[in-house]
C-alpha cells in the first residue's frame, strides 16, 4: 500500500476559498504523482483550484488528503500544515 492519507479540518473563517485553494494547488503541482482531497466520499484533484472549490469546504469541514507516491510525503505535510494553520489568515 503506497497511498498515504491524512485527516484534516478546515479551521479558517472563510473556508477553502479561491486564494487558499490556489496555495494548495501551487504545492500540489510540484508533486510527482496525484494528490487528492476527499470530502464525504467526493474526491477532487488538489492541483485544480476549481475542483477544490466545488467541495464547498466551509469552516469546520473534514477532509482527507491523500498522496499516491510516498516520495510526495513532504508535500502531504506542507499542505496539511497549511490547512491546519488556517492558511495563516
Amino acid at each position: 500500500m503506497s497511498r498515504l492519507s491524512k485527516d484534516l479540518t478546515i479551521v479558517n473563517e472563510l473556508g477553502l476559498h479561491a486564494r487558499s485553494a490556489a496555495r494548495i494547488a501551487k504545492i500540489a503541482q510540484t508533486a510527482r504523482a496525484q494528490v487528492w482531497i476527499e470530502k464525504d466520499g467526493e474526491t477532487v484533484d488538489a492541483t485544480s483550484v476549481i475542483d477544490m472549490l466545488t467541495l464547498a469546504g466551509a469552516k469546520g469541514t473534514q477532509l482527507t488528503l491523500t498522496i499516491e507516491d510516498p516520495d510526495d510525503f513532504a508535500i502531504l505535510n506542507d499542505i496539511a500544515r497549511l490547512i491546519e494553520n488556517g492558511f495563516g489568515e
Binding site: 476559498h17 479561491a18 490556489a22 464547498a56 497549511l82 495563516g88
Partner: protein
Amino acid sequence: MTPADGNSERQLDGISASPGICIGKAYLVDKEGVDIVKQYYVQPNTVQDEVNRFKTAVKQATEELRAIIDETPDDLRQHAYILETHMVLLKDKMLYERTIEAIEKEKINAEWALKKIVANVKGMFLEIADAYLKERAADIVHVSDRIMRNLVGAEQVNIGAIDKRVILIADDLSPAETSQIQLERIMGFVTARGGRASHTSIIARTLGIPAVLGLGKATQQIRNDDLIIIDGTAGVVIINPDEETLLSFEEQKNRWEEYQARITRKGRLASETLDGVKINIMGNIELPEELVSVLDHGGDGIGLYRTEFQYLSRPDFPSEFELYDRYKDVVDVLAHRPVTIRTLDINGDKAIANGSMADEANPALGLRAIRYCLKKPDVFRTQLRAILRVAVHGNVRILFPMISSIEEVDAAIAYLDETAADLQREGIAHNRDIEIGIMVEVPSAVALADLLAEKVDFFSIGTNDLIQYTLAIDRGNREVAHLYNPLHPAILRMIKRICDVAAEKGIMVTMCGEMAGDPLHVPILVGMGMSELSMNPHAIPEVKSMVRAISTTDAEQIVADLLKLSTSEQIDKLLHDTYNQTLKEKVYNGHNGVAAHH
C-alpha cells in the same frame, strides 16, 4: 413601464455594500461583446489551430494580469492577491484542459468550448450553500471573460481612462478592473452582481465610497449619463430623480456633510471637563498621511503610531534611514506635541516573507511584537536607532507592545540603552531622554502592574488585545464575537487596577484601544483617572464633546457604581441610563440617526 420610457423617476433596490450618499452621472461599463459568442464546428485538420488559438488567448490573459499586478500601486497591493489567484485559475485543469478537450473531441470553436466549460463549472457552484464560497464562482467568470475577450478580440473596456467624476455602473467589477480605476474619479459603485463579501464591496468600504450591489437586471434600466442617486446606507439607487427627490437627497447629503464639518470645528475646542480637568485627546495613526486627519479633527498629538506598515509588502527589512525619514515626517508636523511610536507589533519575518509557509498555528499567542524583536536584535536595534535619532526633533515617546513579563521590559530598555551608547560612540545626534511606555494588553501585565510601573514612565492600555486575551475570545470568530465586550465586569476591574497602580506609582496611564474612541466610555475612563485617550482620528471630536459635558466627580461616582454591578448587561444599562441624555444633547446634537453611522 419599459426602460425606454424616458426620464421618469425610478427606484431600484439592491444590497447596501458601502454607506454614504452620492449624486451624479452614470457611467456604464459595457461587456455585451463578451456575452454573445459565435458557435461553429471546426474542420478536423484545423482542430490544432483552434487549440493553439485558445492557448494564445490564455497566454495573453496571463500577461495582462501580470502587467496589472506589476502596476498596482503599493497601497492596493493587499488586493493584488486576488489577481494572483486568477493567474492560477487561468491554467486550472478544470478550465484549461477541459476546454482543450472539448475543442478536440467535439470539434467546436474555442469560444463555444470555453463557454460550455464555464457554464458547467458555474453549475457546480450553484449547488454550494456557503455564501462566500458561492460568490467565488465570480472569480471563474472573470477569468473566462478575460480569455474570451482575447479570443473574440472584443475591445477592452478601459476604466482607467474615465475622465470625469462619475458613478460607475457595471454588471460586475473584477478585481483586475477595480484595480485599474482611477478612484478619485469615482463617486460611487452600482453593480448587478456581487454581495457584501465581494471584492468591489470591500474596495468601496476601504475607500469610503458609497456602493449598492446585487441589483440584478435592474442595472439595465440605467443608461449612460443618466442622473442617479446612490444611497449606500439604504441600498437604494434612484434613476432620474424628480426635483423633489433630488432636493431631499441633496438635503440629506448636506446635513451629513454639515454635521461632519460642525463636529470638526468643535474638535478645535479644548477637552476640559466641567470641573476644569484637561484630558488629552490623541489620534492613532499608521501612515504619516493620516496626521492631517488627526490635526483636522483637533487631536492633541499622536497616542499610537503603528510602525508595522513599513515592514509589509517588501522583500527585505526597512533600513534605519527609511524608518528615520518616515518618523521625521510625523515628528516635524507635530512639533512639540507628543508622538508615541510603538515598536514593531508583528512577526517581521512573516511580514517580509508575505505569505510564507511557516505559519504559526496560533499567531495571537505566538512569536510577535516584543517577543519577536527580542529574538531579532538586529531588526529591533535598527528601529530603536531611528526612534532615538528622530527624538532630537520633537516630543517622542517610545511604546513597547505585548509586554507580559518584567524580563521583557528589562531587556527592551537594555537594548535602548545599548543603542543610545552606540549612537553616542558614533557621534550621531540622538536623544535618550524620552518617555518609555508599555502596552498593557496581556493579563499578566495587569497582574504585574505594580512591578512594571517601577520600570516605565507610562502605561498604554490596548483594549482590543486585553479583552481578547482576558475573555479568551477571538473577535474574528463569528461563534463567539458577540461575547467580546469592553463593559464586561472583569475588563472594568482590570482597567481600574491598572489606573490605581499608575496613580499610586505616579505614572501616566492612557488608552489606545477601540474602547477609548466611544464617547459612552469616556465617563468610565476619566472617572478611573486617565488623563489621555487615543483613538481613530474621526472619533476625536465626539470624544472631546463628551469630555466637555461631564465632571470628574460625576465620573468617579459612576465608576464606583458600575464596579458594584456583576454583569455586562447591568453595566451597559446603568451607563446608558445615566449618559444617554448627555450623549444626545451634547455629543450628537440631536443627530441620533447620524450618530448611528459611527
